[in-house]
């Protein structure tokens, strides 16, 4: 690991420590407040235990990145596309907001910890499908929208977003 990397880890570690204290005390009542508006709010847990995710999400992502690109493994548990789909929120105007935008999920801690990531220069920061799906019900839909794929409409994710949003309200 590079010097810069270890330094950042150190800073990151300190920060995570701080954050844990914070979450433990200040946000004890509603630690999930910051998830409101995202599908994650309707879910019980992240893809790994929360504390582990806070500390190690980058390792999971890097590993996933390599096995997907190099070997063609397409598991979803640590897929970046899945993080976005679950953690993305709508803005005041009702549009999906870029997940790395100011105050949005991936940016919230990074800003604080002075981490900068380049992932969303390439990766879609909101779930986005091609304009025309040639065959409805093909695998991509299932791949990116999980169980809702069979109820998908051509408008794509917005409707699936709406779907779980209403599900969330029902709960």
């Amino acid at each position: 690991m590079s010097f810069a990397g270890s330094f950042r880890q150190l800073v990151g570690g300190l920060f995570v420590g701080l954050l844990l204290v914070n979450v433990g005390t200040v946000l004890a009542d509603d630690a999930r407040e910051h998830l409101i508006g995202s599908k994650a709010y309707t879910e019980e847990a992240c893809v790994e235990p929360t504390a582990d995710m806070r500390k190690n999400h980058m390792e999971y992502l890097f590993h996933q990145r390599d096995i997907t690109l190099r070997e063609g493994v397409r598991t979803k548990q640590h897929s970046l596309a899945e993080c976005v789909a679950c953690h993305v929120k709508k803005d005041d105007a009702g549009e999906l907001a870029n997940i790395n935008g100011d105050g949005q999920f991936c940016q919230s801690c990074h800003n604080f910890a002075s981490v900068s990531i380049d992932c969303f220069q390439c990766h879609a920061a909101v779930p986005r499908e091609p304009k025309h799906r040639h065959k409805l019900g093909t695998s991509q839909m299932k791949q990116y929208h999980g169980d809702h794929a069979n109820k998908m409409t051509p408008e794509g994710v917005n409707s699936s977003f709406a779907l779980w949003e209403t599900m969330g309200e029902q709960q």
């Binding site: 019980e44 847990a45 893809v47 790994e48 235990p49 990145r65 390599d66 096995i67 690109l69 190099r70 070997e71 063609g72 493994v73 397409r74 598991t75 979803k76 548990q77 596309a81 976005v84 789909a85 380049d118 220069q121 390439c122 990766h123 879609a124 779930p127 986005r128 499908e129 091609p130 304009k131 025309h132 040639h134 065959k135 019900g137 093909t138 695998s139 991509q140 299932k142 791949q143 990116y144 999980g146 169980d147 794929a149 069979n150």
Partner: protein, 251 residues
């Protein structure tokens, strides 16, 4: 929540999806069978294997002059936008019209990454970002691409594009960004998901031309293998000995 509970939750979710997948195959048997290049799709956690080699057969005699359904489908599938700068806009697949110098016969055909077995782009890439998967698909790992463009210099088919600008509105399954080199991925996301076809071949079929078929070259029973056995085909720049995964018929 405990780790175990998490895993269980995931297992449930995964099984749920697998169920949907089965259901989907059951309800649309016609399209999936027609499109499928190899009989069984790979499981999500299964790595690509050298027991397969994905390939493409282009039948130039079926490719219609003036039709660019494959190009449009590719652009849409991967979110390639026309920025009105043809010299720097990315093109993963293009239509080329050629005339035989001796006979004057005119052909039109799609041209894209030929997914070579001994790919020059893979050999020259300094960081190993240009790579060939076990199943023969040549890709750029854009996480390690430094944008040196040596692969573009080396490619005999001019199949690669450099991203010349900041991009927005990428589609989820195809991340793309400034400063990296990219090219046809043989719709690896679709093949891995078990579609058995690419956006271009589906679009071509939808137009009724069926000039592009995709399949496993190592499976003797695949449609593509049978067609390759049945009639003569050729590799572009066969003299370079690259054993391309894309073959042309009717040229």
């Amino acid at each position: 929540m405990s780790v175990e509970a998490n895993i269980n939750q995931y297992r449930r979710r995964f099984l749920g999806q697998a169920g949907v997948a089965t259901a989907a195959v059951a309800t649309v048997p016609l399209t999936s069978l027609l499109a499928s290049g190899s009989a069984q799709a790979k499981a999500l956690d299964e790595p690509a294997s050298s027991d397969n080699r994905w390939g493409m057969l282009v039948d130039a005699s079926k490719c219609a002059d003036g039709c660019k359904a494959c190009v449009d489908a590719c652009n849409d599938e991967h979110g390639l936008e026309d920025l009105g700068r043809p010299e720097t806009d990315a093109q993963w697949i293009r239509k080329v019209t050629i005339k035989d110098k001796a006979t004057g016969h005119i052909d039109t055909l799609p041209l894209m990454c030929q997914h070579c077995e001994t790919a020059p782009c893979v050999d020259v890439c300094p960081t190993g970002a240009s790579m060939r998967r076990a199943d023969g698909i040549v890709l750029v790992d854009r996480h390690t691409c430094i944008g040196c463009r040596y692969c573009m210099m080396a490619c005999p088919y001019k199949a690669r594009s450099f991203v010349h600008e900041v991009l927005e509105n990428q589609v989820t399954h195809q991340p793309r960004g400034k400063g990296c080199v990219e090219s046809c991925t043989l719709c690896v996301h679709k093949l891995d998901a078990g579609d058995g076809s690419t956006a271009c071949s589906e679009a071509c079929a939808a137009e009724g031309h069926h000039a592009i078929i995709i399949g496993d070259l190592k499976d003797p029973n695949s449609d593509i293998s049978r067609q390759l056995r049945a009639s003569p085909t050729r590799q572009l720049r066969a003299d370079l000995g690259l054993n391309t995964g894309v073959r042309y018929k009717g040229l």
